[in-house]
Each structure stands twice: as structure tokens, then as C-alpha cells.
């Protein structure tokens, strides 16, 4: 199929209809109108807070689904039967000037009627035919306007795109006929070079984080996923911040022995946030290449695993703080930094609150980078892996308390019954247990099977992030709990990766051979490569498929940011309490492990359970429930069941006198869909 006349006519007609619909509606300023949802996280600071009050605690029981629809316009799927949108619709729509803009499950932007969900336009693809339509969901898009010029800025595959917000057509004055290539040099990674989380517009600058690979790969020479900025009007490059310092740049000294030349990855693949008054963008960076083994990259490895404050006009680094030194656990800083003003001991502070995969909420003055509460460098375990030199200390915030269980010790194992306790202990004893930051270890016969790592690399927190209530100064953090096994036996089947391992004394392969009867390297590699199921390898299983550690397995933690104290913590979802070995115990909710995002309104906290597609652990957990919690107590005040589990962050807006809450849902058998909730 090409972008044929029929479709073009539909697009033009829809565009015209929209123009008529919005004619005379003077565009509002860049100031966020809180009846709308102008940024991925609701506002530039990513609070995920809406002050709307129509849906409230008194009437919540009347809330129902007002409309729902497949995320991909049905015309596309009817005309191209091979189009099969994936269920993992991670997007959150924007609502601006009476139009809902959303990336669909193919990554195409669609404009929808906020009251009905009906398609107003589908973006013009970059290339005609099936190729132009195929793709995957992205998380966020951005809106920008100047006078009568209104643009939707999106990242799809390896391109930054600027679309006319009235028609969905590419802006011919932006880049190369509406697009700018974001391709990094060198071979591609599994994810788009511009990442999935989307751009942010700060003033007249678009900032893109990157994150092609979230690079657990050990490919040698993988690109440095630099932070890039472009002119919002023309697409011209404005600046580039090198996450991997180049020769002579600050931070190069943290790659000992010249190891920066092996570098890369470290892209910021979570959504970015910004303070428009300061003109600063807040960038959470990922792990370096070979996230589980750093023998080839001795040193702290700046600017990996850091929160970086960058002047959006110039690209100048204002301040940074590395939250994990010399990462060995794939602890990307994977959540959007949340900006909010807090008052601590009578002092008003412009704060940035950064949740992490490893269960901490780091809080800084966002102007200066000074920690609001002291962050201590504490000694952590050394590595036993050949060639590995774990960094001797790691940053621990003294406040707030962690929102996740940290590390796996005997006391952390399940104890629902004495039998389960004994079985869990037996399983755990075949691994290396230890506190947070216990490094991955070599697996071998007559040795442990690797390190139990908690929080695992899926978080803790992830791109779904936390939420901040500017009225009450409360911070709400959803997180989930799973134990990863990190072992160092299996070199991926790349020649380059073996070169990397072999380049250090001694190589991982040699180390593995020391512990096995297989002395033929080819045979050993062949055996390693035959292991079929990465998911089972990475996530530790407890007895009979139960988790290995105590509940909750998904939780919401509320912090009072005036004091740094935990206000409450509750399990989110029933979790495995109906498991055959638990159901007679009449346990309270244990938490359904899934990746979820919170929506705050004036009176309520909304959150789903997460689709099984959303990094649930064990696989298949999560659920279809969508709940409203009392913000003050954590008590569930309402719940409903959606057509599938949530896959994206919910948002809210007011349109023609009615408040809507829209959230993406989907699963393996349910293509991505928008669900709009509200009062009848």
C-alpha cells in the first residue's frame, strides 16, 4: 500500500475538519493550562499531577469507561492486513487546544477527538507503503507553538519529526522534509537511536536523550549515546553533550587506562524533564556497555548512571551527580527526574527528585545540584570476578528511606510456611547472596550459580517513574520487586564480545573453563549458546514459581518531601496470594508485580497493575485492575477492571465540561488500546 489518494484525502479532509473545529481558538501560551496535558508528564517537570477535581473521592464510584478504541486507526489495519500492532502501547497522549495527540502502537502520531476518541488525522508517514507504517510504540511526544505555527515533535525509529499539529503533515521547513536523522555512528542497537521516551522542548530547543540499546550488550565500540539538541523551527543541530567524555573532556579520567575508547551506550532512555524558567533540562543517563562486567572499563565511568543538569540553550553541564559508580548491575537511571518545590526546615528549595532502579529516591536542589539530605559514600562488597574491580563505595541517600527491598540475605527469603522457607533457603543457597551492590559472580560447577541481585535490573523504579503533588509536597512512588540472577558464565555469541572479555586478564571464557570439565572453547561456547530462555535465567524463581523474597511484590510508597519521611506504603494488587500453596493462609494483598505509572489528581491517586507485557516478574503477573487510592492513607477507594493491563502512564484533561482519564492498555492477545474513563 502506498500513502494513496484515498488516505491522503481522508487525512486532508480530517485536517480541514479539525481546522474548522479549532478555528478561532487562539492558541494558548506555552504555559501549561491545567485543563490540558501539554507534556508527557503533565508539565515540564514531570509531576504527573492534574489539579482537576470533577472526578473526586465522592463520585469515584460512578466512574466508568466513556470510550475506548484501538490505538491504531482501523482504516490502516483494514487496508494493510499484515499490520499487527503490538499490545505494548507505552504512550501517553497530550491534550492541547481541544485535541488529543497520541503516538499509536505503530509509533505514528494520531489526533483524536477528546470526547469520543475518533480519529481526526493520522500522521503522514516518512516513506510510503508498508515500510512507512510499520513500527513500535513510543512513550512521549512534545508540543510546541509560536503564533499560528503549531507543531507536534516526535521520535520514530531513528528520526526526529516535526508535524503540523493541525494536519499531521510533516513540516517542510524542518530538517530534511520534516525529519532529522538521529542515527548514531556504527551498528544499530535493538532500540531506536532516539530512544522510545520522546523529545522535550525547552524554549526553542528540542532535546533528545537517546538510548538505542539500554546496552547490556557487550559489543565493543558501541556508540556513545550522546544527548542532542535541535532548533525547534528548523531542526538544525544546536548542541551535543557527550555522555562518554572525549579526550580532554571532563570525566575522561574516570575511564582508567584509556578505556573510554571501548565505550559507549549510557543514553538517557527515560523521559527527560525541564525547568522552563531556569532553562535547564534534567537528564538521567543509563549504564555503560557491558552492564554486568566492567573489567574492561575500570573507574567510575562518568557520565553513566548519573543525573545531569544541562543548560538547554548551550548544552553546558551545570551540574551532575553519579548515582551508581562503575555499574555492574544494569542500574540505569531509568526514571524521569521529577521537579517540584519543597520546603525543608523552613527553607524553600527548588528540588529535583530522582527515583532509581535500585530503590532510592535521590533529592537535590535542582539549581545547584546540592543534595537536600546528605548522601553518604558507603563501602560495598568487592567483586570476585576475574579482572573486575568493583568501585569500593556507592552513594546512599540518608533520606528518604529506600522504597524497595535492598539485597538478598537469609532474612529476606519467603517464610509463608516453614516448608516454603526451607525450600526458598535451599534455592537461594545455590547462589551468592549479599547486600545491595554485591557484584555479579562467576557461575561454575561446585560454585554458586551467580549472584542474587535485588532490586533487579527491571527496577525498582523504571521509565514509568514517580509523581509529585505540588500542593501537599508528597511524592508517590510505584515500584515492583524481583530478584535477578547475575552470572558471568555466558559470553554472548559475538566475536567482539569475546574479544572484550579476552582482552582483560584473565578472560571470562578462561575463567569458565577453570570450573568446568569442558576444555574445548568451541564446545563450551556452543553449550552456553544453547541455553534457551533468557527470562528464566535472569529472574530468580522461588519454590513452585513463587517469588524468592518476602512481599510486597508491587507497592506504592508515599513520601512527605518536607521531612523526607515515609508517610505510608501499600501493596498494589493481590499478587500470588491465591497460589495453591498460599491460598489457605488468608494473606493480605501481596502486590502484583508489574510496571505502572501513577496519575495524581487533586484528591486521588490512580494506578493500574501493569500489563504482563510490562516487565512483570514472574512472567504473566500484573493485572487488569485500575484503582484509585486515598492520597493521604493509601487506602483503595475504588477499583475497576480494564480490557487489559495498563501499558502506559495515565493522564487527565477537561474537555467541554467533562474530566477524562485516558490510559493505554494491552497485552499479548490484546492490541494496544486507549481507554477513557469519566463520569457518565
Amino acid at each position: 500500500m502506498g500513502w494513496n489518494c484515498k488516505q491522503a484525502c481522508v487525512l486532508i479532509a480530517s485536517g480541514l475538519a479539525l481546522l474548522v473545529a479549532t478555528a478561532g481558538a487562539a492558541d494558548k501560551s506555552q504555559e501549561s493550562d491545567r485543563n490540558e496535558w501539554r507534556y508527557y508528564g503533565g508539565d515540564p517537570g514531570g509531576t504527573k499531577y492534574s489539579p482537576l477535581t470533577q472526578i473526586n473521592r465522592k463520585n469515584i464510584n460512578k466512574v466508568r469507561i466513556l470510550w475506548n478504541r484501538p490505538s491504531v486507526d482501523s482504516k490502516l489495519t483494514q487496508e494493510e492486513p499484515d499490520l499487527n500492532p503490538y499490545g505494548n502501547l507505552e504512550a501517553t497522549p497530550l491534550m492541547v487546544n481541544g485535541v488529543l495527540y497520541a503516538g499509536d502502537a505503530l509509533g505514528l502520531v494520531e489526533a483524536l477527538d477528546p470526547a469520543t476518541g475518533k480519529t481526526l488525522w493520522v500522521q503522514e508517514p516518512l516513506v510510503p507503503g508498508f515500510r512507512g507504517l510499520a513500527g513500535i510504540s513510543t512513550r512521549g511526544i512534545a508540543y510546541w507553538s509560536e503564533g499560528s505555527k503549531r507543531r507536534i515533535i516526535a521520535v520514530r525509529t531513528d528520526d526526529l519529526e516535526s508535524l503540523d499539529a493541525d494536519t499531521g503533515r510533516l513540516d517542510p521547513n524542518f530538517g530534511n522534509h520534516g525529519r532529522v536523522s538521529l542515527k548514531y555512528p556504527g551498528p544499530s542497537g535493538p532500540l531506536p537511536d532516539g530512544g522510545l521516551s520522546g523529545p522535550i522542548v525547552v524554549g526553542d530547543v528540542i532535546v533528545v536523550g537517546g538510548g538505542r540499546a539500554d546496552d547490556v550488550s557487550v559489543r565493543k565500540g558501541v556508540a556513545s549515546e550522546d544527548i542532542r539538541a535541535f532548533d525547534v523551527r528548523t531542526g538544525a543541530p544546536r548542541w551535543t553533550f557527550h555522555v562518554l567524555p572525549r579526550p580532554g573532556e571532563s570525566g575522561e579520567e574516570t575511564w582508567e587506562g584509556g578505556s573510554a575508547k571501548l565505550g559507549g551506550a549510557m543514553g538517557a532512555w527515560a523521559p527527560l524533564t525541564a525547568d522552563l524558567e531556569l532553562g535547564y533540562v534534567y537528564v538521567p543517563t543509563g549504564s555503560p556497555m557491558a552492564s554486568f562486567y566492567g573489567g574492561q572499563r575500570p573507574g567510575q565511568n562518568l557520565f553513566a548512571n548519573s543525573l545531569i543538569c544541562i543548560d538547554a540553550k548551550t548544552g553546558r553541564r551545570v551540574w551532575h551527580y553519579q548515582l551508581v559508580h562503575h555499574d555492574l548491575w544494569d542500574y540505569d537511571v531509568a526514571s524521569p527526574p521529577v521537579l517540584g518545590d519543597i520546603t525543608v526546615q523552613g527553607k524553600k528549595i527548588k528540588a529535583v527528585m530522582q527515583p532509581t532502579k535500585h530503590g532510592f529516591l535521590f533529592v537535590f536542589n535542582r539549581v545547584t545540584g546540592e543534595p537536600v539530605w546528605p548522601i553518604e559514600e558507603r563501602p560495598v562488597p568487592a567483586s570476585t570476578a576475574p579482572g573486575e574491580k568493583a568501585w569500593p563505595t556507592q552513594p546512599f541517600p540518608t533520606k528518604p528511606a529506600p522504597f524497595e527491598r535492598l539485597g538478598v540475605m537469609t532474612d529476606d527469603l519467603i517464610d509463608f510456611t516453614p516448608e516454603l522457607r526451607a525450600e526458598a533457603l535451599k534455592i537461594a543457597q545455590s547462589y551468592l547472596m549479599g547486600p545491595l551492590f554485591t557484584p555479579p559472580s562467576v557461575v561454575a560447577p561446585n560454585h554458586t550459580q551467580g549472584t542474587l541481585v535485588l532490586p533487579g535490573a527491571l527496577g525498582g523504579a523504571s521509565w514509568t517513574g514517580g509523581a509529585f503533588d505540588p500542593d501537599t509536597q508528597m511524592f508517590y512512588m510505584p515500584s515492583h520487586t524481583h530478584v535477578y540472577v547475575k552470572d558471568l558464565l555466558r559470553p554472548p555469541p559475538y566475536v567482539d564480545s569475546l574479544t572484550m572479555y579476552a582482552a582483560g586478564p584473565p578472560s571470562m571464557l578462561e575463567a569458565a573453563m577453570e570450573f568446568t570439565d569442558i576444555k574445548d572453547p568451541t564446545e563450551l561456547l556452543s553449550r552456553m549458546a544453547q541455553q534457551p530462555d533468557v527470562a528464566n535465567v535472569y529472574i530468580a524463581q522461588g519454590p513452585d514459581g513463587l517469588p524468592l523474597v518476602k512481599p510486597p511484590y508491587a507497592r506504592i510508597t508515599a513520601y512527605d518531601m518536607r521531612t523526607g519521611q515515609t508517610a505510608w506504603m501499600v501493596a498494589n494488587g493481590d499478587g500470588p496470594r491465591d497460589h495453591p500453596r498460599l491460598r489457605n493462609l488468608r494473606l493480605p494483598p501481596l502486590g502484583s508485580s508489574g510496571r505502572v505509572a501513577v496519575l495524581l489528581t487533586k484528591t486521588l491517586l490512580f494506578v493500574g497493575e501493569g500489563s504482563p507485557l510490562q516487565a512483570s516478574a514472574p512472567r504473566g503477573s500484573g493485572g487488569k485492575k485500575f484503582r484509585a487510592f486515598d492520597k493521604a492513607t493509601g487506602k483503595v477507594v475504588w477499583e475497576t477492571e480494564l480490557p487489559a493491563g495498563t501499558t502506559g502512564a495515565p493522564m487527565s484533561y477537561m474537555y467541554k465540561g467533562k474530566q477524562y482519564i485516558v490510559v493505554a492498555v494491552g497485552d499479548a492477545k490484546h492490541p494496544g488500546e486507549w481507554v477513557a474513563l469519566g463520569l457518565p
Binding site: A134, G135, T157, D214, V216, P532, D533
Partner: protein, 152 residues
């Protein structure tokens, strides 16, 4: 010592092989529901798919189909967890609509059949006399299942 699931998957593969049936080809598809045990692709098609897989897919899913985060495993229990109970149409159209992740939509329709054929081959489903092809409606009638005959 290797991971616990290693021998289990060999066992699964052997079990699958023992249930291999004679290829039924397009005739059975035309008659209604069938499943991937009926020999719905040819050996040559699977081999062409293997070459394509190595070129387009292996850098993320690995040459041995083990996957590496975020790319899922395409063999063994990892594959069946995602695809058991779905149709070949689901598999082929998902490949064509979303993969390769860095160039989605770049496979032609015949190429997407070849890659799907290779994945069926790699998971122990038998080859048959006719190539995998057909309309989306026909492909929807071919069930991916770990239990032969469930479609009937």
C-alpha cells in the same frame, strides 16, 4: 554446571520431534483449522529464513535465538510462552509490522514468511511439502501450539 532449564529444553525439543507428523500443506489449511504440527512450511523456506535471521535478527535475539534484554528468546520455553495459542498469522504479521526493531517494515511479505518458517523450524515444528504462504485469513487458521491436534 549449566542453568536448570538447559536439559528441560532439550527434552521439550525431543518431545516435539516425536510428535512430528506428515506435512499436510495447503490442502489442510484450506479445509479449516490446522496447527504447526501439520508441516506448514518447507525445509528450504526455513533455511532461507535462517539466513535472513542471521542478517536481520541475530544481533538482538542472538544467533542461538536465546534473546538478550530487551529482545525476547525465540526458541524453547521463551518462544512458547509468547506464542502458544496464537496463530501463524500473528507471528508473521508481528515480524513484519515491528521487526527488525531498527528498521521495522523493511522485510517483504515473502521474507516475513521465511523468517516465520525458520522460527517454526527452530522450535521443532516439522517441515512439510508446501511453503508457508496465504492470506491473513488462511494464516489465522494455523495455530501455534505445543499440543498437536488442539486446533481440531
Amino acid at each position: 554446571m549449566f542453568r536448570r532449564d538447559f536439559p528441560a529444553v532439550i527434552a521439550v525439543a525431543l518431545t516435539m520431534a516425536s510428535f512430528s507428523s506428515v506435512g499436510l500443506g495447503d490442502e489442510s489449511i484450506a479445509q479449516g483449522k490446522t496447527d504447526v504440527w501439520a508441516g506448514v512450511y518447507t525445509k528450504e523456506q526455513g533455511e532461507r529464513g535462517h539466513a535472513l535471521y542471521l542478517e536481520k535478527c541475530a544481533k538482538c535475539h542472538t544467533e542461538s535465538l536465546t534473546g538478550q534484554p530487551p529482545a525476547p528468546a525465540l526458541r524453547g520455553t521463551g518462544f512458547m510462552l509468547n506464542w502458544n495459542g496464537k496463530s501463524v498469522r500473528d507471528l508473521q504479521s508481528r515480524i513484519r509490522s515491528t521487526m527488525p526493531a531498527d528498521q521495522p517494515g523493511s522485510l517483504t511479505r515473502p521474507e516475513s514468511f521465511e523468517v516465520a518458517a525458520f522460527l517454526l523450524s527452530a522450535n521443532g515444528f516439522p517441515a512439510g511439502a508446501s511453503e508457508l504462504a496465504g492470506t491473513p485469513a488462511q494464516l489465522s487458521e494455523i495455530l501455534i501450539t505445543d499440543a498437536p491436534g488442539r486446533a481440531h
